[in-house]
């Protein structure tokens, strides 16, 4: 074959190959762009899931998680800023004094933040399985005469002791209530049951986190006229007086939730010298945590994240009388309600003892403290 022929063939082949390459590159570029945009949607969705988690955290920690039972972010006894638990200050064995659960400016003091990286533990503490088990309730024969009435528990209802066990007179035909969960521990012994296995499951790491900043009164009230920040606060949440003229205590139930998706574990500051750093917001910074190789790596991770800011107000209202009764069916029904999508920030009687979310407000830009 002559050189001219070889050249012609080469040109033809090269041209066709170039065309194919161009098509392929375009295709790959399209797919890459599509994937990146889809990843953004995924991050946004994850951040919104974190909103759900953060609100659940606020509700539950209004009463649990501080070693003793507490009574709300604003205590339901007197509206004082909580959570507070009762302590025995005078040593007489009676816990009569309510004291806040925080020390200094540490969480959950007003003005402080909680950082909550989300992951799945290998086995959470006190993990149980929802196995149904036989409730060891006394068997009551329907043919037996009604037991003598005990104390009244409500209109038309009476409870009494029968064979030493409290039974429902109206429901005496029930031999056992199989609808009530009888949870079984996952761990094989009590020590493991209590401790759990907090090691994160690797596949659940670095996906999402949330932070909860508890607003101080000055954050949402009492701003000097013309104060430029925070822009979102224009409603006096501390107004109002009691009938005797006393001013309401501070509203300690307003929170700024930061919902994030990504690998920064919810750290806000790299070092204590960063602008806006406040120890109450982050006692241990990302740089001090030892989890990140460098500021550049941390900031790169942050740049990849989707962050959403919301404000919420917690309310102690549980809505339904049955919420007071740990042993009523509705306590467990809360699980079913959540599965159905009804929840503690809807208007469903929450059937939990953790209050509810009064309102949610998305912020369209970064607030000064979070």
């Amino acid at each position: 074959m002559s050189d001219a022929r070889r050249g012609t063939v080469l040109i033809i082949i090269a041209g066709i190959a170039a065309l194919m390459l161009a098509v392929s590159l375009t295709f790959l570029t399209r797919m890459r762009g599509d994937g990146e945009e889809a990843a953004y949607v995924l991050r946004d969705s994850t951040a919104r899931i974190m909103l759900v988690n953060a609100m659940a955290y606020v509700c539950e920690t209004s009463r649990l998680g501080w070693g003793e039972e507490t009574f709300g972010w604003n205590d339901v006894h007197d509206h004082s800023v909580g959570p507070s638990c009762f302590v025995d200050k005078d040593g007489d064995g009676v816990r009569e004094t309510a004291e806040p659960v925080w020390v200094g400016d540490a969480w959950p003091a007003p003005g402080s933040s909680a950082r909550c990286p989300m992951y799945v533990m290998q086995r959470p503490p006190r993990a149980i399985t929802p196995h149904l088990g036989h409730n060891p309730m006394v068997i009551v024969d329907a043919s037996l005469p009604a037991p003598p009435a005990g104390y009244k528990d409500g209109p038309g209802e009476s409870l009494t002791r029968f064979n030493g066990v409290v039974v429902d007179v109206k429901g005496r035909r029930k031999m056992a209530d199989f609808s009530v969960l009888d949870p079984q521990p996952v761990a094989g012994n009590r020590a493991d049951f209590v401790a759990g296995d907090p090691v994160p499951r690797i596949e659940s790491l670095d996906l999402g986190w949330f932070r909860v900043y508890r607003e101080r009164a000055i954050d949402h009230d009492g701003l000097p006229a013309g104060s430029p920040e925070p822009y979102y606060d224009t409603v006096d949440l501390n107004g109002g007086t009691y009938p005797d003229g006393r001013q309401y205590p501070d509203n300690g139930s307003v929170f700024v939730l930061t919902c994030g998706s990504g690998a920064t574990q919810g750290y806000r500051f790299w070092s204590t010298s960063d602008p806006g750093y406040d120890r109450a917001l982050e006692p241990v910074t990302a740089g001090d945590s030892g989890l990140f190789q460098s500021r550049e790596q941390f900031e790169s991770m942050r740049a990849e994240e989707q962050l959403l800011w919301f404000r919420i107000e917690w309310s102690p209202l549980v809505g339904d009388q049955s919420g007071h009764n740990t042993y009523s069916g509705s306590y467990f029904n809360a699980i079913g309600n959540h599965r159905e999508g009804s929840n503690i920030w809807g208007h469903n009687p929450p059937s939990t003892q953790f209050g509810s979310i009064k309102w949610i407000q998305r912020l369209d830009r970064e607030p000064p403290r979070w």
């Binding site: 006894h77 409603v235 109002g240 309310s315 209202l317 920030w345």
Partner: protein, 366 residues
């Protein structure tokens, strides 16, 4: 013999081979090109869906489809309606005329609950709002505070706002009209013999009462609830629905009428004496939503496009922000519908947003 040119056979073979090569290359290119085109269409579809998703969650967060803080023409829900005498037909972004102390109600305020019966021993604190109306021996006037707030919000902002303004699990009851034919309801009196002339529920209009109250828990604690219900004098809400759709221009049909229907919330619970159960025209609303050409269009020019609607539904069981995305395939014409629910800004949060300075400082929540 020396040849200087191809033979005919050589030429024919060369041409045949060349044609084969060109045909193969052309086919390959066509396949690749078709694949690229299809991937581009899919990419475009995905982009549209993603855009609609983003628009949906943004609307869930900022309520622009209901009230545009930057355009007075887009604020139909700020029109004052309570001066028309249409109880319960208030618009949800009307400036609320309520003393400040009512905004910060709390359950520890003695005005917000009635400690009676079993609740008297509630040593863990009061987590429930228990209240009643008017001054009686059992319901001191001071406890009129909460129902007054409830009543005010209901009158000024309407049904939807009443549901969403109050925390989850808020109980609602009302007293029915007097009924001369019903010996149990000859007068507007409750089981305690208290008059409640202001509290009535108009069955004919399917409308809420002039004044709602929180007597439910009180009557229950006093075994009064059953008396009230058995006598047909009171009603507890069970199946109430209301909704807010996009404003006019964002949907076909009479948006104002839809929202009016939504305000006229009805009791659809089973087993009560409100047998008629007047229902809003959900079918009409749904049709308008489905057929709405781009009330919120984010489609490129000349594309069949995508439509997105956010509808906020509310009842006494839960709040739902339903976002529907309708995508028309640009090639096949196939229609695909997506639907998701999104937790976002509540009505009170949206009202507070409109008080932001850069949102116009409307002052509606003050």
């Amino acid at each position: 013999m020396t040849r200087t040119a191809f033979t005919l056979v050589e030429l024919m073979v060369a041409i045949a081979l060349s044609l084969l090569i060109v045909a193969t290359a052309t086919a390959a290119f066509q396949v690749a090109s078709k694949a690229l085109t299809q991937s581009e269409r899919l990419t475009k579809e995905n982009q549209l869906v993603r855009s609609a998703y983003q628009a949906g969650v943004e609307d869930a967060d900022f309520w622009f489809s209901v009230d545009d803080p930057f355009d007075p023409a887009g604020q139909p829900q700020r029109a004052l309606r309570r001066d028309t005498g249409e109880d319960g037909n208030g618009n949800i972004f009307v400036s609320l005329d309520l003393p400040q102390e009512f905004h910060n109600w709390n359950v520890s305020d003695p005005r917000s609950f009635q400690v009676v019966g079993e609740f008297r021993t509630n040593r863990g604190g009061d987590y429930s709002l228990l209240s009643t109306v008017e001054s009686t021996e059992r319901a001191p006037a001071v406890r009129d505070w909460y129902p007054t707030m409830l009543d005010t919000v209901f009158h000024q902002l309407g049904t939807y706002a009443t549901f969403e303004y109050f925390p989850p699990g808020t109980g609602y009851t009302w007293y029915l009209d007097k009924d001369d034919s019903n010996p149990m309801r000859p007068e507007w009196k409750n089981a305690f013999g208290d008059s409640f002339t202001k509290f009535r529920y108009s069955l004919a209009e399917g409308r809420w009462p002039n004044k709602m109250n929180m007597a439910y828990r009180v009557t229950r604690a006093n075994q009064g609830e059953r008396d009230e219900l058995n006598n047909g004098r009171a009603r507890v809400l069970h199946g109430m629905y209301t909704m807010v759709g996009p404003r006019s221009g964002w949907m076909l049909g009479d948006s104002q009428q839809h929202n009016l229907l939504a305000r006229m919330t009805v009791d659809s619970s089973n087993g009560n004496e409100n047998g008629g159960k007047p229902q809003p025209d959900w079918g009409g609303i749904s049709q308008d939503l489905a057929a709405s050409v781009p009330f919120y269009s984010i489609k490129p020019e000349a594309w069949p496009g995508v439509e997105m609607a956010v509808v906020r539904k509310e009842n006494n069981y839960g709040r739902r922000v339903a976002t529907a995305i309708k995508l028309v395939n640009p090639i096949s014409g196939d229609i695909r519908m997506f639907n998701f629910h999104c937790i976002g800004t509540t009505l009170r949060g949206a009202r507070m947003q409109r008080d932001w300075r850069h949102f116009g400082a409307a002052g509606i929540e003050q």
